[in-house]
Symmetry: D2
Subunit: 344 residues, 4 copies
């Protein structure tokens, strides 16, 4: 019963096969190879527009590099107070922006509250030299609470951002989980709603280590700068094709979406088990591959003794994460364990 | 006849097999996995001492992260004026050290001249607040000119560094090429000679993307800081085990050394061909997997028209790089081309 | 009726006289002069211990330079969410620390709430590589709300900090206002309570531009690094003696304290006038040279039309600042204006 | 006989008088005051065009802040290998540019050699992601060797820079010394020749601490960013008017030029004395207020024993610096000492 993280899973076999398949001959280094070119074309089709891309090996690298195009040391990026970039990246955005600030807003279920966002933007005065004005908004989809932004919610944030002259970045470390079965296309929920650039995560989706920075529209003109920033950060590995091919393998036949669907279904099942067993209540709606459940400590202890792996979260709930490789047997075990827990 | 770079080669099949072999089950993330632990043990055996390690995906990341332990924004690192960290990393050391300086010295065949090094150190006054004093020396082995440092040469640099209170980093992007068949052990030419930390490169040796930062002696106490710096730089990928296993695969049965030996032999053969054909002269001794030949432009043009891929180098020579996958047929082709060149 | 700021005042005549008095002959540059040495001795007497000092020209410079000794890019400084370093210095701490974070806590009247501080410290795990752990606490005395920390309150913060291994910085831009007539000595409320270093402000006290970084105890060993950081930041002006002498002039005969006393008395008078006139309520206790009053907008408008200069503050109140040069006539005018305001 | 530095002199009495003259009443803070506005107007007249300005307290601050408008962390600034920004500012340009590089060229008498500059520019390829391309050129006038650039020489550098798309900064820490009695106007030798911005030094000219960043032409649009960068660096002191007024005092009645003329004449006299006495040879032409003389060590020792204060320079010569307050008696003493030195 390992629900600790979607980063602790192995890689999908199709990813390994793809690596082996391209492992022959010579290719130009540093992203000038054919595979990376293919990935760019593939993502341009998926996003229904010409995109520029840069594959990197971690979500932190994708977020921080992408954000460094949007703000500098004199500016800030607005994000939710529980955002990964604020809480879990050891100051990577500050590093890559040479000391820019993150301005945090609150909002239920880790979604940015548009009212708070608007208030913060209205207060900001770029001409007032003493305060750090915002230059961009970063929203996370799935959020850190496992919830998704609806099409309308993304558009509302983007419209507000635009009204104040801010660019929008989407941290899509779990983007596939956020869009699968929603009927919203990748294009609709990103650039068509007003997102300028994103971190498109495949690592949690089934890759070895593959997160793609995607630039839309005018932002594409920054690809040269992005590559220079990546080189400077050690994120332009010579054999980049072996990163790019991981995304290609997962995009093939919409594997990325079916893997996300599996993970999401497993999470729904986890929440069903916990609620059925009346072990606790959900801290947030389950809209992706994560369940956040408020469990009494005695119950959590019993479950752990029965083999559960899951971590307490910032908000006091227990986080259960499912992924592409979550087994039916683990759900069955959790169901059994859940039934045998003594609630007193 | 592709002698363009050892970074354009594919990966050795053993590396791909190793990836597939470990691709099952769950493992703790961010380097807390068993594979990375095994690599640490394996490298401790190879270096005959307990080492701390951090696997990353590029040589630039390895160099810049490792150097960031050795100097800060108020200090400098002394290196050769042609060193990769000075010329080819888009300011990565400056980025990771928050604006520290590189102080360059000259020296034949891209080796640091101890006389220049000593002069620079003697001139430096750490108490003089206006100038940036050195905190460390970085030497590259193989050098950027394809030459190696002998055991005595490394020791001389390290002794000088120690006398002035400086730490020593070795950029070992082509370390296997530098030591194979020399009789000098990895331990002898590094920490036993006075090196405190190194970038141990496997990417050019046959990996997909794998460079290991190795900390010796007291420097091991900095592993926590190093991991924090890596996280902050996006260089702590969740599934780190897939990087670590690449090095393990190449170390198995001394494959790394036999691959380096093959590359070095090919380079020797390239130089023999060029000299036999009287096409030019060597700019530097051939002591690894690279040949730097001063060729008349007309000859270089003819060779390229016959299919040669090789780049002009900073010093005006043409660089031929061999690697683990360099084919005998490419050498035969070069020999033929060389014979048919018209020298006028 | 100018209550806009204590930074818009001119300098006390004694400061100008002191400048003229030392303006002859040659002196060693960059702080090696006799005047700066005298200031160090004088402050060592005032603080009842040997101190190291660095005079700079702004409070922002003093804060950011001093904090850069306490935390680096991998760490954070805990401060109040309304602290000057968080709100009003355009990211100076992030600049000087190369991208470290500020971790904000709340607390009434802009004082750090020890309960919040403790909670934040307990949650922090320096070994957890993903989050940025605190390295220091910065408290502001007078606070941004014009309140002071009592001796017990400073000690409580410092004890907590010490328990978690954190250093303590005091932003004393209005230090004289905070201690005058309290009976607490400069030594008691700083190093004897556990403060390691401070920004001691004279600019708002009557200088032209003079804020002194003061290092206590072990922190004195960092003076060399501090000077190097200052040089690198353009804050080691050649004729530093002209900064140092400003502080000397204000310390002479405890002028700094009598000027602060005047400013504080004026503020008390301002609050009396506003309360007497029943124009509004105080947002914070008046414990220094600042009054924060919640005034109906119509009243504030009328006062401004009668010549009042004062700014709305972050918390919605109106801030009235008095200083060494605040005139009795201005208080009389305010009293008259206050009486003639129509409250409807 | 103090020829140690023009930074160890006191301030001209007119500067102190000006400070006293404006020391009354309240003024808006942070440069929004009338005095600073007057200085901008005055400099617009002197430079025969509308300029934007920012007064700071040191030449290092002026250089580093001004350069931070011209290059970022991905770029370099080309300067002479002996430039103050490279040698004497403890990495300030790297700090303010967040880790950009300085690319050094050589040239006689500390003037940038246009041939070297051109070669460096031609080699640079902004599209080549591995190397750091230049974004600007910084030239120092007077140079570090006390020589001046002629109008033609400045224009040649600027034309080259323009041809390669680079901006030009002039470090004018001793600008008055460079132009006095040349017949070249401030406008001609700066923006009319192609300089975009400069550090205009008054500290060595007779101020307490006053260096003005001057922006010409399109660069004026960057004034808002410059002020934000200054605030962030602690270089926006509240009572900025006391810095501005120093420059105003020195510009009044061309005092800055007559003081520079005095210093230059004294230097000419120093060189005459040294050459007459056949004590040594000049290392560089004397074109300002500095003399660099190659003296036998025994002679230098004797002179020092007779009371000479002067420092050995990087190039092995002895540097004699004259300034506005250099006394005739000091020259007479040097003459006497010079005559009595025993040359053997």
């Amino acid at each position: 019963m390992d629900f600790s993280s979607d980063t602790s899973a192995s890689a999908h076999p199709a990813v390994l096969e793809a690596l082996a398949r391209i492992n022959h001959g010579s290719q130009p280094s540093y992203g000038a190879d054919e595979i990376t070119a293919q990935l760019r074309q593939r993502l341009s089709v998926i996003f229904e527009c010409d995109v520029e891309i840069l594959p990197v090996v971690s979500g932190t690298a994708a977020n921080a590099l992408c954000l460094s195009l949007l703000y500098g040391p004199l500016q800030s990026v607005i994000c939710h107070e529980e955002a990964h970039i604020e809480r879990d990246e050891r100051g990577a955005p500050e590093f890559f922006s040479a000391g820019g600030k993150l301005s945090c807003v609150s909002g239920q279920h880790a979604r940015i509250d548009p009212v708070h966002l608007k208030a913060l933007c209205e207060k900001a005065d770029p001409e007032f030299v003493h305060e750090t004005p915002p230059a961009a908004v970063s929203l996370t989809n799935l959020t850190e609470s496992g919830t998704r932004y609806s099409l309308d919610q993304v558009a509302e944030i983007c419209d507000l951002a635009k009204a104040f002259g801010l660019n929008v970045h989407m941290d899509g470390a779990r983007f596939a989980n956020a869009i699968v079965n929603t009927g919203w296309s990748p294009a609709q929920i990103t650039w068509k709603s007003g997102v300028q650039c994103m971190s498109l995560g495949f690592t949690k989706n089934g890759a070895i280590g593959c997160d793609i920075i995607v630039l839309f529209g005018d932002m594409r003109q920054r690809i040269g700068e992005l590559r220079a920033r990546a080189k400077r950060a050690g994120h332009l590995p010579p054999k980049m094709r072996f990163i790019s091919v991981q995304a290609l393998a997962l995009l093939e036949g919409d594997l990325w979406l079916s893997l996300a669907e599996h993970a999401n279904q497993c999470a729904t099942e986890v929440s069903r088990i916990l609620l059925n067993g009346e072990l606790g209540v959900l801290a947030h709606p389950v809209e992706g591959n994560e369940v956040f459940a408020k469990l009494p400590e005695t119950i959590f202890d019993q479950l752990r003794q029965m083999g559960l792996k899951a971590y307490p979260w910032l908000d006091g709930s227990i986080r259960f994460v499912c992924h592409w490789a979550t087994q039916k047997t683990e759900l069955v075990q959790l169901d059994k364990a859940s039934s045998s827990v003594s609630i007193t």
